[in-house]
Every structure is written in structure tokens, then in C-alpha cells.
């Protein structure tokens, strides 16, 4: 009985230790990321001298992800139209499909879809690129030349992603509306005119600016988290892989958490 009790006690303390270590690691990384973002905002004053790098990063985030954004946008709209349209059809209200699509896309789905795509494609690439630079001494080489890695690498990436994310988000929303129109017309038998008329009715100024604000903040979060994990990569290629994976998981979580709080702030 005593041995059993001691064993349970050991397991409990080991579990507490694990939770504590995880919490400390989380707080350490969160603090580092926030400081990194703060330093990155400070270096915004040097953004004109980094215009070329910012445009390059915008090109990678915007143009290079165009195909996947198009597909995700169209299919998200088609799925939404199909799922909501079939239910609405039961009440003879399938003509409202457009309204539902634009409302859900502008409020939540557009920025969220953009965040998922850019986390997976651009954020992971940022973490891997900066992580590789770290393990191959390129970050140390910058320090030796008295060049701030934050100004040189982080600020252009944060600026580019914060600027391009609302654009990608709007692009996905437009394509989702088009995808929804195709399903509404072909399966739900809603004419394009009726679909568009109700789509317009679903557009609300508040939904648009809150959606764009979300996209903007998601851009800052994804780039900041990815750069932070990249800059802290250790132990060679294995460390780069770990940093990349961790940056994707952390970005997803942060996008979800911040997404909820922004929604609660404006609609709660």
C-alpha cells in the first residue's frame, strides 16, 4: 500500500514537473517572440531601405501561393454553399446562400483560411530559412558585422506578411463567393442575379474591417512566431526541422486564440 502510494506520488510529481517545464518553455518562447516583434516594430523606421526585401517577401507570400489560395477559396465557397444551401432548401430559402457565404467568409473564414495557407507555406519556410541561417552561422556573421538580424531578416518579413495577409484574405473571399455561386446555380438552382443580390445584402462594413484587421494581426503573428522559432533553432538540421514544426503548431494555436479574442472584442 505504501509502495503504491509512493509510486503514485512520484508519478504525480513527475507530471507536475513536466507541466511546469512546458509552461516555462511556453512563457520563454512567448516572451522572446513578443520582444522580437517589439524590436521589429522599432526597426520599421528603416523599412524604406529594406523595400526590396519586403517586396520579395510579399511576392513569396502573395504570388507564390496564388494557386493554392485559389483552390482553397473556390472549394471553401463550394462546400459552404452545399452545406448551408441544402439545409436552407428545406425551408425554401436557398436564395440566401450568397448572404451566408459572404457573412461567414468576411467575418471569420477568409482571414482564417489565409492564415492556414500562409502558416503552412510561408511561415514554415521562414522558420526553416532563418533556422538554417542560424545553424550555418549566418546569424552570427551578421552580428559580427554589427548588422541586426531583426532589422535585416525579421522586420521585412513581418512587414510583408502583415501587408499581404489582408490582400490574400480578400482574394480568398472573392473566390469563395465565386465557388459558392457555381454550386448555388448548378445544384441549388439559384440564379446568378438572385445569388449576387443577396450576397450584397450580406456585406457589412464592420465585418469587412474586422476581417481585415484579423488578417493583418494574423500576418504579424505568423511571421513573428516563425522568425522566433527560426532564430532559436539549434543542433543542426534536426533543430531546423524541430523549429519548423513547432512554428507551424504555435502559429495555428495563436491564430485560433487571437481570432477568438478579436471576434469577442468586436461581436461579444
Amino acid at each position: 500500500m505504501n509502495e503504491k502510494g509512493a509510486g503514485a506520488g512520484n508519478r504525480f510529481s513527475a507530471m507536475l514537473e513536466m507541466i511546469g517545464a512546458g509552461l516555462i518553455e511556453f512563457l520563454d518562447q512567448a516572451g522572446y517572440t513578443m520582444l522580437l516583434l517589439a524590436r521589429s516594430f522599432y526597426y520599421l523606421k528603416d523599412a524604406p531601405s529594406k523595400a526590396r526585401e519586403i517586396v520579395t517577401q510579399m511576392y513569396f507570400a502573395g504570388v507564390k501561393t496564388l494557386t493554392v489560395c485559389s483552390l482553397v477559396g473556390v472549394f471553401t465557397g463550394m462546400i459552404l454553399a452545399l452545406q448551408t444551401g441544402i439545409e436552407l432548401q428545406n425551408f425554401g430559402m436557398q436564395y440566401q446562400t450568397g448572404r451566408l457565404i459572404i457573412a461567414s467568409m468576411t467575418r471569420e473564414m477568409g482571414p482564417f483560411m489565409a492564415a492556414i495557407i500562409l502558416t503552412a507555406s510561408v511561415g514554415s519556410a521562414m522558420a526553416a530559412e532563418i533556422g538554417t541561417m542560424k545553424v550555418y552561422d549566418e546569424i552570427d556573421a551578421l552580428e559580427m558585422m554589427s548588422i541586426s538580424p531583426v532589422k535585416f531578416l525579421v522586420m521585412p518579413r513581418v512587414t510583408a506578411l502583415a501587408a499581404i495577409m489582408p490582400v490574400v484574405s480578400v482574394y480568398i473571399i472573392v473566390l469563395a463567393c465565386l465557388g459558392g455561386a457555381v454550386v448555388a446555380n448548378s445544384i441549388l438552382h439559384v440564379s446568378f442575379n438572385v445569388y449576387i443580390k443577396h450576397l450584397y445584402k450580406g456585406i457589412h462594413f464592420k465585418a469587412i474591417y474586422v476581417g481585415l484587421l484579423k488578417a493583418f494581426i494574423f500576418g504579424i503573428i505568423i511571421s513573428g512566431v516563425s522568425c522566433a522559432f527560426g532564430l532559436r533553432a539549434e543542433s543542426g538540421e534536426l533543430g531546423v526541422g524541430h523549429a519548423t514544426r513547432s512554428s507551424v503548431v504555435a502559429s495555428f494555436l495563436m491564430v485560433l486564440i487571437f481570432g477568438y479574442f478579436i471576434t469577442a472584442l468586436f461581436y461579444g
Binding site: 541561417m133 550555418y136 549566418e138 552570427d140 556573421a141 552580428e143 559580427m144 558585422m145 554589427s146 548588422i147
Partner: protein, 250 residues
């Protein structure tokens, strides 16, 4: 005049003790080589001079100024007079050779663009890299990468250059080219050099003095001749690459 001084440096990574009572003085204009097995702590010692690592205890002085614990502004000032040739070259992959070489000056905008271009051309010519000016690091060989990295280091006219395994991964001819360049920097520009390597041919070529790192400290320091004719079992086993002796494979 002593330029670099390590005073009783101790450094551990977790349970692994890397430097334990490491002491060394390097004089102005001298070329000092630290030899030793891979993973023994040679690069760790070198990084302390650049302020990229801090010791657990002890002091690292560069021209009398303590590097460990120095304020960022003081460290920046010290680093302006120092260059590091990293093992990998540490070139920025998306930039051309010319942009990489120009980096120390172009980022700080202290010189007009024409002056930077002139200096870049001058360094590229010195290191016979003019043909590679517009190539990216992925388009040039390992030896060229090292030379580009050296050209970048020379852009700020440093008084001290730290070389981290400058010949690793290069063929014997290219190794000798790089070794000769290190000598040339010392001869022509009066640079003080600290080289870490396990390439014995290069060590004997570039070193005015050589120190063997083993067990966290320098077990012998001497001229190339003294090292070559050493009675120390560790040194003899290492320089001759013998299987039998006190050194065990790590």
C-alpha cells in the same frame, strides 16, 4: 603587445566540460593556431574572442578590454576591428558575391555607393574572385565561398581575424591556397590571427605558434618546429594520426 588574452576560462555545455582552465596570450601581428580533435572545444574558444559565447568563469580580453560582459555598444566597437571567417563561410544565400562582400559597409551606409563598389572590386581582385562577382553562393565552389567570406571580412579592414576551420572540406591545393591567404593577410596587413584547425599541414604553414587543446586546456604551446618534435604523447599521437596513445576517439 598582447592583443588577445584568455584568463582561466571555464565553459561547460550541460554536463560536458569543454574548457577547463584555458589560458592563452596572443601578441600583436602573431598568427596563433589551436589544434585538437573535432568537438574538443577549439571553436568554442574562438567564439569567446568574438563575444559569441560567454565563459562560465574567467575573462577574455581583446586589447585589454574585457569581451565577456561587455555592453552591446562596447562589443560592437570591438567587433568593428575584428573579423570571423566561419567554417561554412556564412554567406547570405540570396545575395550575389558582390552583395555579400559589400554587406558590412552597405548595411551601415557610412560610405557612398561608388566607394563601396570600388572597395568590393578591390577585394575581389585581391582574392581572384572578379569573375564570380555576380554569382550567388550556390553557384560557386567551397574554396571560392571561403575566399568570398574572407573578402567580406577584409572589407572592414580588421586588425584581428579569427579563422574557424578555414580549410575543412577543401581539396589539398585549395587548402594551401587558403593557408597562404591567411599568411598574406598577416604579412601585408599586419593582421593578428587566431586559427582553429585540425588540418596539420595548414597549421604548420600558417602558425607562428601552435597550441594543442586537450582536456579543456592547452597541453602544449610552441613554434611549429617545437610541436613537430614534441615529446608530449598527446601532441605526438595527434600530429602523427596514431591509433595508440592517450587520445581516444570521441
Amino acid at each position: 603587445m598582447t592583443v588577445i588574452e584568455f584568463i582561466d576560462i571555464h565553459k561547460s555545455f550541460g554536463p560536458k566540460r569543454v574548457l577547463a582552465g584555458f589560458n592563452l596570450k596572443i601578441e600583436k601581428g602573431e598568427s596563433f593556431v589551436i589544434i585538437g580533435q573535432s568537438g574538443i572545444g577549439k571553436t568554442v574558444a574562438l567564439r569567446h574572442v568574438a563575444g559569441l559565447l560567454s565563459p562560465d568563469s574567467g575573462r577574455v580580453l581583446v586589447e585589454g578590454i574585457q569581451v565577456n560582459g561587455a555592453r552591446p555598444a562596447a562589443l560592437r566597437k570591438l567587433r568593428e576591428r575584428m573579423g570571423v571567417l566561419f567554417q561554412s563561410g556564412a554567406l547570405i544565400n540570396w545575395m550575389t558575391v558582390a552583395e555579400n562582400v559589400a554587406l558590412p559597409l552597405s548595411e551601415h551606409r557610412r560610405f557612398p555607393r561608388r566607394e563601396i563598389e570600388r572597395r568590393v572590386d578591390e577585394k575581389l581582385e585581391l582574392l581572384e574572385l572578379s569573375d564570380a562577382k555576380f554569382k550567388t553562393p550556390s553557384e560557386i565552389s567551397g574554396g571560392m565561398k571561403k575566399r568570398v567570406a574572407l573578402a567580406r571580412v577584409l572589407m572592414s579592414n580588421p586588425d584581428i581575424i579569427l579563422y574557424d576551420e578555414p580549410t575543412t572540406g577543401l581539396d589539398p591545393v585549395m587548402s594551401m591556397v587558403i593557408s597562404e591567404l591567411i599568411r598574406q593577410m598577416q604579412r601585408d596587413f599586419g593582421v593578428t590571427s587566431l586559427v582553429v584547425t585540425h588540418d596539420m599541414k595548414s597549421a604548420f604553414h600558417v602558425g607562428d605558434r601552435i597550441g594543442m587543446l586537450y582536456g579543456g586546456e592547452l597541453v602544449q604551446v610552441g613554434t611549429p618546429d617545437e610541436i613537430m618534435n614534441s615529446d608530449n604523447l598527446v601532441v605526438r599521437q595527434f600530429i602523427n594520426g596514431e591509433l595508440e596513445g592517450p587520445i581516444r576517439a570521441q
